[in-house]
Amino acid sequence: MSEKHGPRLSRRAWITTTSGVVAAGLIKTQADALRLDAQTAPLQTPDPTKVPGRFTSEVGRRAVGEQPRRLARAQALSSSAQSPLQDLMGIITPADLHFERHHAGIPEIAKGSHELLVHGMVDRPMVFRMSDIERYPRVSRLYFIECSGNGGSAYSRENMPTEITVQALDGLLSTSEWTGVPLSTILREVGVRSGASWLLAEGSDAAMMSRSVPLEKAMDDALLAFGQNGEAIRPEQGYPLRLMLPGWEGNAQVKWLRRIEVTDRPTMTREETSKYTDPLEGGTARQFSFLMDAKSTITFPTYPFVLPERGWWEITGLAWSGRGRITRVEVSTDGGARWADAVLQQPVLPKCTARFRHLWEWNGRETVILSRATDDTGYVQPTVQQLWEARGERTRYHFNHQRAWKVASDGAVTFGLGDLV
């Protein structure tokens, strides 16, 4: 990844570009040479200014040298794949790099045969084809989706990782512009009966993934989404239809949505009892903890990047809150002793990732860098100690504590929270 942040000097380039100036005493360090090299990069052959390029095409492709990849490890039906946060810019996740989490693989569903059944405590049980749903007035909004298990690999006091990438740690987070029909519109169409307070959302995958959702959320900002970043939702994200519950944990945003039952109580599915509940200190477990509290994570510099030289570097990352809008991100470059406000890149939208940037002059000494987010409810991203205190050390989801990265004096970056606990 180092080529992203400064050309790495090949041996041959070093010799050819510097032999003259070394003799002249103009360059003393490899860093000097890097700067020089940037000005005298060897020409590509064939020279692209001398050969015509290729024709237009129906579908574009990435530049050959740009191959960001999800981290797809386990060949299992119930598994996940993380987004390459370190390779991404701004706030949008390219649709083909959006993180994945499935419980029984990715179903192949033909849009023409997909139906959504809405029934239960309604005046008119109805079945909608995709062409019906697409005809209702649409909304497009940018929202993040995060798996509530994201970040869990940096929570255990005993097993704090060091050589972990931000992708492996926090890559179950992605942001897209979602297009769909407000669920409230569809519920209005079927007529919700009084006394109703929940619904059950069910997917059309081989796990028939199901979650109970409070009706209040359904009537607020829930979407029946069929569009992602300007095109149809990807199969991995629930094609042809998924439930969007802005700011809530990913699992509840049921993909491949085929059924909504309006009820007066939760169904107590496996994913809201055995899983996606938070065991707390003192023998209880928090249930229906849908909301994602405020969080931030540095995406650069992170392991395995090595800062090749001291001097100016821009620390950057993402901040988000399921409760609303990010109002502030602070960065510390001295292990949390002092904090400075990072720049929040516009737009900063509610329930959406915000890009933050902080220009830093690294003095070449070992240090730990951190970020912490604040949202418009006044919630400040806690330290891991604060979360341990609040939820115990054996909780299983919602790990929104501050992350830390250690920069060694040789520039090597590793995950650094272990140094602070």
């Binding site: 029934h119 700011g247 209880t284």
Partner: protein, 202 residues
């Protein structure tokens, strides 16, 4: 959201069931400037659009197969622990192990939740409702061939799993009446999200 009459009723019913939903929390203000405008239907929107078709009772019944904690949705049928052992050894053992503890996939049998918390995140150690077993197994298990079990086989394998967890006796029989009556060891452990919003870290 614009406060329509329906929304007010819904909010009231929400309060009645006593669930602390995030929208109750002071931490989730409606974003007036943005969300409301985008989500509101235009003034001229009809009372009903009429897109989509009414679903017949038969159509609903075909997909309405979930099981609620009070047993609503459980089909006719029954199965014993002894019958369930046969089902388990035929359909489940490969992934959950001969005694439900060996894996390679989820451990189904474990300790009483009072020994440690969360001692074992298993049916006996963590699950609050026995009916969830029916709901989940009939949806998703066995993982490679979901839906192959008959209701009798499903009741039976549930009886077996509950018995292995020390929750029901060796001669127990599960059906639409007995299953919802099973009180799981972890039943009273679950509390609805009690985060209050604002600056509190909880």
């Amino acid at each position: 959201m614009r406060p329509t009459a329906a929304a007010v009723t819904l909010a009231a019913s929400w309060m009645l069931v006593g669930c602390a939903g995030p929208a109750d929390a002071p931490g989730t203000p409606a974003d007036e400037s943005f969300a409301d405008i985008a989500y509101a239907l235009p003034e001229q929107a009809p009372r009903r659009f009429g897109f989509g078709a009414e679903a017949s009772a038969a159509r609903v019944a075909r997909w309405d197969t979930d099981v609620k904690p009070d047993g609503e949705g459980l089909p006719a049928g029954k199965g014993t622990v002894a019958e369930g052992e046969v089902v388990f050894m035929t359909y489940c053992v490969a992934c959950h192990g001969p005694t439900g503890t060996e894996g390679p996939n989820d451990v189904l049998v474990g300790s009483d939740p009072w020994e440690a918390w969360p001692g074992s995140v298993t049916v006996g150690g963590y699950w609050p409702y026995a009916t969830t077993l029916y709901d989940y197994i009939s949806r998703a298990m066995p993982q490679l061939t979901p839906g192959v079990l008959t209701p009798n086989q499903t009741y039976a394998v549930i009886a077996y799993i509950l018995h292995r967890n020390g929750v029901v006796a060796a001669d127990a029989e599960m059906d639409a009446q007995t299953l919802p009556a099973v009180i799981m060891p972890a039943r009273d452990r679950f509390v609805v999200d009690d985060r209050q919003g604002g600056s509190q870290i909880r």
